[in-house]
C-alpha cells in the first residue's frame, strides 16, 4: 500500500465536492418537491468514508451498499445525469426510474446496488464474493453496512458465512452514530462495533476516523489486500450524517442535543475541510485546482438537474410491466391482467 499521491488527493477532493453538491441539491429539490417520494437518504458527511475506502479498490472489484447509496454511485463514476434522473423517477434514470434513490446500481462498474431492506444486501454481498472464490478470482466485494443493521439477523448469518467459506469480503460498518433515531448505545450490546468480528473469527482492523479520507484509505488498503489473499475482514468507520436519517427525520429540529452534536461535527470534523487541510499541508496551496473542482461539481450537478427534468417519465403498461421477468413477457402479461381491474 502506497500513501496517496497528490493526484489521488486532488481526485478525492473532486469526488467529495461532487457528492456534497449532488446531495445538497437533492435536498433542495426535495424541499421544492421537484424530487418526490418518501425516502431520500443523503451521504453528506459520509463522503470520506466512501471515497477513502473505494480508492483502495481496483476495477474488477465489487461494491454493494444499502439505500444511502448516492455517494457510492458517484465515486464509481456513474453519470450524475442518470443518477439525478433516477431521483426523479425518469426513464433516463440509471434504473429506468423503477428503483429511485434507494436502488442505484451499475453492472458495468460492478456496483451491485443500493438496497432498501436493512441488512438485506449483506447475504447478496457474500454471494457475490462466493462467485469470485468459486471461480478462483481474487476480486473483493466491498460491502457497506450501517451501525443499526449490525443488529439484524442478516448481518450475523452473512458474516458467519463469509468466515466459514473464506469469502473475499471487506465488511465496512459505517457507524454514523444512529439507526434512524436510535443511538448505537441503545441498539447494540457491543458498542465497539468492530469487535463484533470476534463472533465470526473474522479479522478486524478496528475503528477508523472516517472523516479523514487518508486514514480511511490507509486502513481500507490493508483490508483489501487481506481480503484478496485470505478472507473476510471488518472495519468500523466512525462518521456522521449531515442531513439526518432521511427526509422523514424531524429530530434535528426537535432536539437541541442532536442539533448541537451535528453542529460540532460540521465544525470540527468536516471531511472536505480535513482533506483540504491535508492537501495544503502536504502540497501547498492548491486552491485554484480545488476551486475548479468545486465549479465543475456545480456545473455537472446543474446539468444533471436540467437533464433529469427534461427527461420523460416511464408511462403506460409496457413501462410498468417491463423487466418483471427475463423474456416471457407473455407470462406476466397474462398474470398481470388478472384482478387488476383493467382490460
Amino acid at each position: 500500500m502506497r500513501s496517496p499521491t497528490k493526484a489521488m488527493l486532488l481526485d478525492w477532493y473532486r469526488q467529495m465536492v461532487l457528492i456534497r453538491e449532488f446531495e445538497e441539491t437533492c435536498h433542495r429539490l426535495y424541499e421544492e418537491k421537484r424530487i418526490t417520494g418518501v425516502y431520500l437518504h443523503l451521504y453528506s458527511g459520509h463522503e470520506a468514508s466512501g471515497v477513502g475506502s473505494m480508492a483502495a479498490l481496483r476495477e474488477s472489484d465489487h461494491v454493494i451498499t444499502a439505500y444511502r447509496d448516492h455517494g457510492i454511485a458517484l465515486i464509481l463514476g456513474m453519470d450524475p445525469k442518470a443518477l439525478m434522473a433516477e431521483m426523479m423517477g425518469k426513464k433516463t434514470g440509471s434504473s429506468g426510474g423503477k428503483g429511485g434513490s434507494m436502488h442505484l446500481a451499475s453492472k458495468e462498474h460492478n456496483f451491485w446496488g443500493g438496497y432498501a431492506i436493512v441488512g438485506g444486501h449483506l447475504p447478496l454481498a457474500a454471494g457475490i464474493a462466493l462467485e469470485a472464490r468459486y471461480n478462483g478470482k481474487d476480486d473483493v466485494t466491498m460491502t457497506y453496512v450501517g451501525d443499526g443493521a449490525t443488529n439484524n439477523g442478516y448481518f450475523h448469518e452473512s458474516l458467519n458465512m463469509s468466515a466459514i467459506w473464506d469469502l473475499p469480503v471487506v465488511w465496512i460498518i459505517e457507524n454514523n452514530g444512529y439507526g434512524m433515531g436510535t443511538e448505537v448505545e441503545r441498539a447494540s450490546g457491543q458498542t465497539e462495533l468492530h469487535r463484533k468480528a470476534e463472533a465470526y473469527g473474522i479479522k478486524s482492523l478496528g475503528r477508523v476516523d472516517a472523516q479523514n479520507a487518508v486514514e480511511v484509505y490507509t486502513v481500507a488498503s490493508k483490508a483489501v489486500e487481506y481480503a484478496r489473499q485470505q478472507g473476510p475482514v471488518l472495519i468500523e468507520h466512525v462518521t456522521y450524517r449531515y442531513r439526518g436519517h432521511g427526509v422523514s427525520d424531524k429530530q434535528y429540529d426537535a432536539r437541541d442535543d442532536m442539533s448541537a452534536e451535528l453542529k460540532e461535527w460540521m465544525e470540527l470534523r468536516e471531511p472536505i475541510k480535513i482533506l483540504r487541510d491535508c492537501i495544503e499541508s502536504e502540497h501547498g496551496d492548491m486552491s485554484p485546482v480545488l476551486a475548479e473542482h468545486e465549479a465543475t461539481a456545480r456545473r455537472l450537478v446543474a446539468e444533471a438537474v436540467e437533464f433529469a427534468e427534461a427527461s420523460p417519465l416511464p408511462s403506460g403498461y409496457d413501462d410498468l410491466l417491463r423487466n418483471t421477468y427475463v423474456g416471457s413477457e407473455s407470462v406476466y402479461k397474462s398474470d398481470f391482467s388478472v384482478g387488476a381491474g383493467i382490460d
Partner: protein, 328 residues
C-alpha cells in the same frame, strides 16, 4: 351525538393510550416507537407519558420483535409490538406464523399469547418494490392468528381495543394512506367501545352490486359507489374489517340482494383477498350469481418508484367503477 373528525392515526393513538392507561401489562415495543415518537406518529408522546419501561425502542431486529412479543405474552404481559412497516414483518413470518399463531395449539391450550402486532401497511408513495406491500392475506392464511384491518377512525379505535384485550394473537394492519384521513368520532363515548373480532360492517347500502373490501379498499369502494350513483348504480359497500376470521354471512346477506360482487384490495392479485372472497361467494352463493365476481387489486408486478406508473398499478375508484360496469 356530536362528533368530530379525527385522523385514523389519532384514533389509533387514543385507543392504544387508553389501553395502556387501563392495563399496566400493556406495553409498546418496536423500532422508533419511543424517542422518534413513532415513525407514523402513532406513539407520539408515549415515551413522556409512560416512560422507557413501557415504551421500548428496539434495534432493527424484526425476528426478535416478533418472537419476544410471544414470550412476553406467554409470561403474562400484553405486548403491542410494532413493525415499522408491514414489509419488515416478512422477516418475522416464522415468529408470527409458526410461533405466535401456533404456540397455543401445539401445547393444546396450556398457554395463551395475548399480543398485538401493529404494522403500517400499503403503498403508493414511491416507496419502491421492497417497501410496497399490503400483504395482509399472507398472514391471514395462518390459523391461530386474527387479522384486523380498519378502514376508518372509529373502527380502528374499537378494533384495536378489542385486539389488545383479546387473548389471541392479532395482527393489526394500519393503512399508511388512511393515517391522516379524518373521519367522525363522537366527542365522548364509552371508553370500552369494543368492536367484536370477525364482525364486518356495511359502510353503504345499495341494491345493485356488492363491493367487498377492507382497510383502504373501503375508501376506493366508497368513492366508486359515489361515482356509480351518477349512473344510477347503487353499490353496497361491505367492509369486512377482519381478514381472519371472515364475516362471510354479511357478504352473503348483501349478495343475496345484489347478485353481483366486485372485490377491492390494495394487495397483489394472486392468492390474495379477492381470490378467497370470490371463491367463497361462488361456492356458497352460486344460485344467486347473476354475473362473474370481479376483482380489483394491484397490478401483478413488483411495484415501481416512478410515480406515474406506480399510480397505474394502484387500484382506485375508477378501476372499481370499470369492474362494476363489466357486470351490471
Amino acid at each position: 351525538m356530536p362528533a368530530r373528525n379525527v385522523a385514523m392515526r389519532e384514533a389509533i393513538r387514543r385507543a392504544l393510550r387508553e389501553e395502556m392507561q387501563r392495563d399496566e401489562s400493556v406495553f409498546v415495543m418496536g423500532e422508533e416507537v419511543a424517542w422518534w415518537q413513532g415513525t407514523h406518529r402513532v406513539t407520539r408522546g408515549f415515551l413522556e407519558e409512560f416512560g422507557e419501561r413501557r415504551v421500548r425502542d428496539t434495534p432493527i431486529s424484526e425476528m426478535a420483535i416478533g418472537g419476544m412479543a410471544v414470550g412476553a405474552a406467554l409470561a403474562g404481559l400484553r405486548p403491542v409490538a410494532e413493525f415499522m412497516t408491514i414489509n419488515f414483518a416478512f422477516l418475522a413470518l416464522d415468529a408470527i406464523a409458526n410461533h405466535a399463531a401456533k404456540v397455543r395449539y401445539f401445547f393444546d391450550g396450556m398457554m395463551t399469547a395475548p399480543l398485538v402486532y401493529r404494522a403500517a401497511s400499503g403503498w403508493g408513495n414511491q416507496a419502491t418494490a421492497s417497501h410496497s406491500h399490503a400483504p395482509e392475506p399472507i398472514f391471514a392464511h395462518f390459523p391461530g392468528l386474527f387479522v384486523g384491518c380498519p378502514s376508518n377512525s372509529l373502527d380502528a379505535y374499537g378494533m384495536l381495543k378489542t385486539a389488545i384485550r383479546d387473548d389471541n394473537p392479532v395482527l393489526f394492519s394500519e393503512s399508511i394512506a388512511l393515517y391522516p384521513k379524518p373521519s367522525p368520532m363522537p366527542d365522548e363515548f364509552d371508553e370500552d367501545y369494543l368492536l367484536p373480532i370477525g364482525k364486518g360492517d356495511i359502510k353503504r347500502e345499495g341494491k345493485d352490486v356488492t363491493l367487498v373490501a377492507y382497510s383502504r379498499g373501503v375508501d376506493w369502494a366508497l368513492q366508486a359507489a359515489r361515482l356509480l350513483e351518477r349512473d344510477g348504480v347503487e353499490a353496497e359497500v361491505v367492509d369486512l374489517r377482519w381478514l381472519r376470521p371472515l364475516d362471510m354471512d354479511l357478504v352473503y346477506k348483501s349478495f343475496k340482494k345484489t347478485n353481483r360482487c366486485v372485490i377491492v384490495e390494495e394487495s397483489l392479485p394472486l392468492y390474495s383477498f379477492g381470490s378467497e372472497i370470490a371463491a367463497l361467494v361462488q361456492e356458497n352463493m352460486f344460485d344467486y350469481m347473476d354475473a362473474p365476481i370481479k376483482r380489483v387489486a394491484a397490478a401483478d408486478v413488483p411495484l415501481p418508484y416512478s410515480k406515474e406508473i406506480e399510480l397505474l398499478a394502484l387500484p382506485d375508484a375508477q378501476k372499481v367503477v370499470n369492474a362494476v360496469k363489466e357486470i351490471v
